[in-house]
């Protein structure tokens, strides 16, 4: 019986590995970062910026390209485009709850198992 931990495909480590495998060296990947419940939704932009800065600082290269995308207050989430190594450092931070790839290859639509046109 599974508990409410992420399934293997959404475990952060596996998500990070997939991002790393699919991103050519020197290029960036896109990910969705979900923040902990304790983070206030009122200053998410500042929190996102601090997370990015902390990740770059941990790597020791503040010039690494990072682009913060949309910030979703209700979801306490933001999208980011950065080198996979930066995203990995971000995921280490306590304020980050989960990381998902921005693009889901298998899709999210629950496709019908059968379709029959009605003339």
């Amino acid at each position: 019986m599974p508990d409410e931990k992420p399934s293997a495909n959404w475990a952060t480590e596996n998500v990070l590995k997939e991002l790393e495998q699919k991103t050519p060296p020197g290029e960036t990947a896109s990910a969705q970062v979900f923040l902990s419940d304790t983070v206030s939704k009122d200053d998410l932009a500042a929190v996102a910026r601090r997370i990015v800065d902390a990740a770059r600082e941990a790597i020791g290269d503040s010039s690494l390209p990072v682009e913060i995308g949309k910030i979703h207050r209700l979801a306490k989430s933001f999208s980011v485009r950065a080198a996979p190594s930066v995203i990995r450092r971000m995921s280490d931070l306590e304020s980050v709850k989960a990381v998902l790839p921005s693009e889901i290859e298998e899709g999210v639509m629950i496709k019908p198992v059968k379709k029959t046109p009605v003339p």
Binding site: M1, E4, G69, L74, K97, I110, P112
Partner: protein
């Protein structure tokens, strides 16, 4: 005992009552002890009750009917029991230390049309409509009027005759997750038009398949492709802004991820009921966020009252609501509209989910002040699992729109009391 109950007992000798139970009533033995105070009215008694209902104020023209299998029915989530009692039973219940309150159950009131028009249904309701007893609410002119249902999907064909005047708002979120200014209602696939048709489709010669044919959707095109997570989150935010109190989502990520828990909690805090498909990957599978205990998760059943083989189901190691889906609804051979003035039958939990969202819309149109929590509890409380259906696959079973409305009105009365 309340005044109305006294009057009915004095006049008829019997009454249908709602019993508010104390939280301690859990053991089966306690329920059995309680059940002895209820009774099953005989046919003449039923006729007498109906006559009283007919004589009473015009707002009370219900049709009491005996409970088929048990003297009473317990709704554990609501902390209520429902059944018939005579004077001695009512007194015994009122004196019981397991009971907080005994009140007469309100009967559904028939809202007669102000003016009768010849625009009858052009075609027969689908099997799904009938299975959920939705047509019985239609007969009372409860059709979803005034309700907006959020709909996140592949879009919607705004030109389809079955969706005429059914779209309150539309938003297209492009592949980067940005809202496209001035977008017109279109469908990037046919999935969204089909699911929207099940929620709010107007009656057309091909059939009456829209559960809430006078409700409207606020529909956002958020899938497939692109930065889909960004698109879905933006769509959820947009739906709240459009005033939707129900959200139908036939989408999800395979497996479990807690990533959406914060936004689902935000939806609930905003008084929005998320109705979400469990997935089509069969037993021991589910999708997120349809597998959260904070959403109304829907699986698919067929016309034979069997859970469809493909319908997802999974038990989680969590204290509250461990089993998904919460319930099942018609999801096989579901007729609805698809783009370009066409129609199709589809199978999937995606097809079952809008049935339940539509039922929620009907309930909300009948009780506009109902909260999302009350809608959810009424739908769950109305469910009956057929004997052929395994609990681990169908959980609570199939909702009953008529019973759900009765429960909703009862719980709201109780809240007021």
């Amino acid at each position: 005992m309340a005044g109305n109950l006294e009057e009915t007992l004095a006049g008829v000798g019997y009454a249908k009552v709602i019993v508010a139970l104390k939280p301690t009533l859990a053991a089966a033995s306690s329920k059995a002890a309680l059940e002895q105070h209820f009774m099953i009215p005989s046919e003449p008694q039923m006729e007498s009750l109906m006559a009283v209902a007919a004589r009473s104020a015009s707002k009370r023209s219900g049709h009491p009917r005996p409970l088929e299998e048990h003297k009473m029915r317990v709704y554990p989530h609501l902390g209520l029991a429902l059944g018939f009692v005579d004077r001695s039973g009512a007194n015994a219940l009122a004196a019981s230390n397991q009971v907080e309150q005994v009140v007469e159950a309100p009967e559904l009131s028939l809202i007669r049309p102000f003016a009768r028009r010849s625009a009858r249904l052009a075609a027969a309701p689908t099997w799904g409509i009938k299975r959920l007893k939705v047509d019985k609410l239609w007969a009372q002119n409860i059709k979803g009027k005034g309700v907006i249902v959020g709909h996140l999907d592949t879009g919607i064909d705004g030109t389809h005759p079955a969706l005429k005047d059914a779209i309150a708002a539309f938003a297209e979120f492009d592949l980067a997750g940005d809202q496209v200014p001035g977008a017109r209602p279109t469908d990037s696939d046919e999935h969204g038009t089909h699911t929207a048709g099940t929620i709010v489709g107007r009656s057309v010669p091909k059939g009456a398949f829209g559960v809430a044919p006078e409700a409207k959707v606020a529909s956002a095109m958020v899938i497939e492709g692109g930065q889909v997570i960004d698109r879905i989150l933006a769509g959820m935010d947009w739906v709240i802004g459009e005033g939707a109190q129900i959200l139908s989502m036939s989408l999800g990520l395979r497996g479990f991820t807690p990533a959406f828990q914060t936004v689902v909690t935000a939806l609930r805090n905003a008084n929005v009921l998320p109705v979400i498909a469990v997935g089509n990957e069969g037993p021991n599978t589910s999708r997120s966020p349809g597998n959260y205990d904070t959403v109304l998760a829907v699986g698919a059943m067929d016309a034979s009252d069997e859970v469809a083989d493909f319908s997802g189901s999974q038990r989680f190691n969590r204290p509250g609501d461990p089993l998904v889906p919460d319930l099942v609804a018609p999801g096989v051979d579901v007729l609805s509209c698809v783009p370009n003035d066409r129609y199709a039958k589809m199978d999937g939990s995606s097809m079952a989910t809008p049935h339940v969202a539509g039922v929620a819309a009907l309930l909300l149109s009948a009780e506009p002040a109902a909260t999302a929590d009350q809608l959810e509890q009424a739908i769950l409380g109305s469910c009956v699992r057929p004997s052929s259906m395994l609990e681990r696959r169908g959980n609570r079973g199939v909702p009953d729109a008529v019973a759900a409305l009765e429960i909703l009105r009862s719980s709201r009365l109780r809240a007021v009391a």
